[in-house]
């Protein structure tokens, strides 16, 4: 048994950590978050230059064959910096779908584009009636001689407005809740009939409402097999949850450390408030919650990379616990900062909002507690 990083992994961690420390102050993050695109193109080029965009892809695909451990390393650091660049949406989600379902020419073109930073691809999966069910798909694609005609709406497409291309989950057969009959289609954003409205989310990130009105795509828009995308989506969702939970664990670490540091500085009643036992015990609880979530994260990541049968259950456990503990730690951080915790001047509130968003993406705590229960029976 060994929980140590390899030399390469340590190098990766150090490189991301250094970037976050030197280039990603909260002020810089806020500036990028509030820019038109919602992130920094310059940072995105840096990500490409430093080789971060290629991490999860195989060598044949142009990557370095990194697995869930490498992804965890990066996302944890991103979580400390509250990174707004579309890494999760473009590399983890869309890259994951292309790597698993793309044919050779799709991979050659699109994965290469992701890796060199020239292409941003968003995954349009969510629909407003679906809540957390990735298979609840109403958006229709009808087959015709040329390919498919898409009609419907996708909601809160992460970084949808800055993407060049969308991967859209559509229904080609069956009813709205069926697992069978879901298909993935590649749709360039400038295709006629695609309308995209940018929205901002409370965590300082971007999303989009996307409407498809008689959108005609060719048959080579098909990604993977027609009608059987559900299992690909589920596999990518597992990796997405590992990535998001790693990000949240990074944020939790930052929150408890920042809170400890603040209490040592802040004086009331003539002493640093860190001296009050009522607060000390709660900071110990925050620390404990972080360590426990980190343990569940490692458990899930390692079992998933080993291809264990229990990995899915471990991921459900992780997503549940990060949902509960992440929010609890963030609430405590705000409380212990007093009025300062309510201000935008401090980053505390932004971590709270990001953690809440992560809790909601790909199913909240209750959703995964339910899944865990089903998997345990």
């Amino acid at each position: 048994m060994n929980f140590d990083f390899s030399e390469e992994q340590t190098l990766l961690k150090d490189s991301v950590a250094k970037f976050i420390q030197n280039e990603y102050s909260y002020e810089a993050r806020q500036k990028n978050s509030q820019s038109d695109a919602g992130y920094s193109e310059k940072n995105w080029s840096t990500f490409a230059e430093l080789g971060w965009l290629c991490v999860p892809f195989t060598e044949e695909q142009g990557g370095i064959g990194g697995g869930p451990v490498e992804m965890m390393i990066m996302m944890e650091e991103f979580g400390k910096g509250l990174v707004v660049e579309p890494y999760f949406s473009s590399v983890v989600l869309s890259g994951g779908l292309l790597a698993k379902a793309g044919n050779e020419s799709q991979q050659a073109e699109l994965i290469t584009g992701i890796i060199d930073g020239s292409k941003k691809i968003a995954f349009a999966y969510n629909e407003s009636q679906a809540r957390f069910d990735l298979h609840n798909v109403v958006t229709q694609a009808e087959k015709n001689a040329q390919g498919y005609v898409i009609n419907g709406n996708k909601s809160l497409v992460l970084h949808g407005a800055s993407a060049d291309l969308l991967i859209v989950s559509v229904r080609t057969s069956g009813e709205s809740l069926d697992n069978d009959g879901i298909t993935l289609l590649l749709v360039p954003v400038n295709t006629e009939g695609v309308s995209i409205k940018a929205t901002r989310t409370l965590d300082g990130q971007r999303a989009a409402e996307v409407q498809f009105t008689n959108v005609q795509v060719n048959s080579d828009a098909l990604l993977g097999e027609e009608g059987s995308a559900a299992s690909v989506i589920d596999r990518v969702a597992n990796e997405a949850m590992l990535a998001l939970c790693a990000e949240a664990v990074g944020s939790m670490e930052k929150l408890y450390k920042d809170t400890v540091a603040y209490t040592k500085e802040r004086k009331q009643f003539g002493v640093a408030i860190s001296g009050f036992q009522a607060l000390q015990h709660r900071m110990v609880d925050m620390f404990t919650a972080h360590e426990q979530c980190k343990s569940l994260l490692l458990r899930a990541v390692l079992s998933y990379s080993a291809g264990d049968e229990g990995a899915v259950k471990n991921i459900a456990a992780l997503k549940y616990q990060v949902g509960i503990s992440g929010q609890a730690v963030a609430h405590e951080a705000v409380q212990i900062h007093g009025g300062m915790g309510m201000t935008d001047e401090m980053s505390i509130g932004m971590y709270l909002k990001r953690i809440n968003m992560i809790n909601t993406l790909f199913g909240n705590a209750d959703y995964h507690l339910q899944r865990f229960t089903e998997l345990s029976l």
């Binding site: 809540r131 809160l156 929205t199 009025g339 968003m357």
Partner: protein, 389 residues
């Protein structure tokens, strides 16, 4: 012991219901949406209440109060919450007014109380300072006597709604000798006085409620001091107790839970609705049980005070449990809204009526366990004063 409404109470309830259903319009409901207020709507609503004679149930009847029994107050609060009417802005009616009618001179009562009752003047509360939060007695904003004026210098922080305020009631330091509490005075300051500057504080809920207020050689007539010099702390403490009981918000939480249940009953999850989910409904049930307990704790507290007794030990937990329950309701509400609780409402926002206010309420509501004396400080007080630790 008896908890039945009398026939008079039932008649009163009917009267209140009729009044509210006639006057609480959608516009009035928009006066307060979970943090921010619309001052024009709030003033309009408070004037309607005043015309009816119901704007100040907490005041003595002789000077504009209602003379209601505790049961009537309870009925009124619950019916107001039920109707979606915004609570009155507390700073004038519920905070400074009791200090003025209890400790002010006749001249001050005549000068300030009518405008408060008629909502002609908007007040804010200048207690906290950057270095004086939980430890309020550490405040340093100085008021030095110069002829018949005080010259005020210093800074207040976290001043709610100062951007709309005409007047601010302040605790200022008039002496640095002896105990810190014994050098504090209670001053009323016109916000239009030269040298007063208000700066917005950007907050996590993206609303404008908080401000910093700076005083640079602000000249305040001595006649604006309440009571004696250096006795301000005593007056302020009285005000703080008023603030703390008003903070429990039982009726509002009841309404919040009811709205949440209605929402869960129509929010689609797969082939059913959220209310079918036993995990979620059990969480609502737990909060409801907490609230049932708190409602009676509050009634016991009110009853002992109205029977002429001092507030019993049970009253000290109202603020703690009340705010914890408010937060629990708001947490469940954003959970119910799913993804849409995390979208910025910029006019064209997506989502629904519920989600638009849910996130603002939730985020602003994080502060309810911080302001009005943080819950940690409340526990310290209970440990010391009630448990004798």
């Amino acid at each position: 012991m008896d908890i039945q409404f009398t026939p008079e109470d039932i008649a009163f309830q009917k009267e209140v219901k009729a009044f509210l259903s006639e006057n609480v319009t959608d516009e009035i409901r928009r006066g307060y949406t979970g943090g921010e207020v619309d001052p024009d709507i709030m003033v309009k609503w408070q004037k309607i209440l005043h015309k009816q004679g119901w704007v100040a149930p907490n005041w003595p009847a002789e000077i504009g109060g209602t003379g209601w029994t505790i049961t009537q107050k309870y009925i009124f609060e619950n019916e107001c919450a039920e109707s979606g009417a915004p609570s009155v802005i507390p700073f004038g009616l519920k905070m400074v007014a009791p200090v003025i009618y209890t400790f002010g001179s006749d001249e001050q009562k005549k000068r300030f109380l009518p405008d408060i009752l008629e909502s002609n003047v908007w007040w804010c509360q200048g207690y906290s300072e950057p270095g004086a939060g939980s430890d309020l007695a550490a405040l340093q904003t100085k008021a030095e006597l110069d002829g018949d004026h005080y010259v005020v210098n210093g800074q207040k922080i976290w001043t709610t709604y100062a951007q709309d305020a005409d007047w601010i009631f302040c605790l200022v330091r008039t002496s640095s000798e002896g105990k810190r509490q014994a050098g504090i005075s209670f001053l009323l300051i016109d916000m239009k006085t030269p040298g007063v500057e208000v700066r917005k504080i950007d907050t996590i809920d993206n609303q404008h409620t908080l401000n910093e207020v700076f005083f640079d050689n602000v000249r305040v007539p001595v006649e604006n001091r309440i009571g004696e010099e250096n006795k301000g702390w005593t007056y302020a403490k009285v005000l703080l107790t008023h603030e703390r009981t008003a903070i429990a918000g039982v009726a509002q939480s009841k309404k919040g839970l009811q709205k949440l249940k209605e929402f869960a009953a129509q929010e689609k999850v797969g082939a059913g609705v959220l209310a079918d989910d036993p995990l979620f409904t059990a969480k609502i049930a737990k909060v409801e049980i907490d609230l049932m307990a708190l409602e009676y704790t509050e009634l016991r507290a009110i009853a002992s005070v109205s029977a002429g007794g001092a507030p019993g030990p049970e009253s000290s937990i109202l603020k703690i449990r009340g705010t914890e329950i408010q937060q629990a309701v708001s947490e469940l509400t954003i959970e119910a809204c799913g993804h849409y609780a995390h979208v910025i409402n910029d006019g064209e926002a997506i989502g629904n009526d519920m989600s638009w206010v849910a996130s603002a309420k939730y985020l602003y509501g994080r502060a309810s366990t911080i302001y009005g004396g943080s819950n940690e400080v409340q526990k310290n007080i209970i440990a010391k004063m009630v448990l004798g630790l």
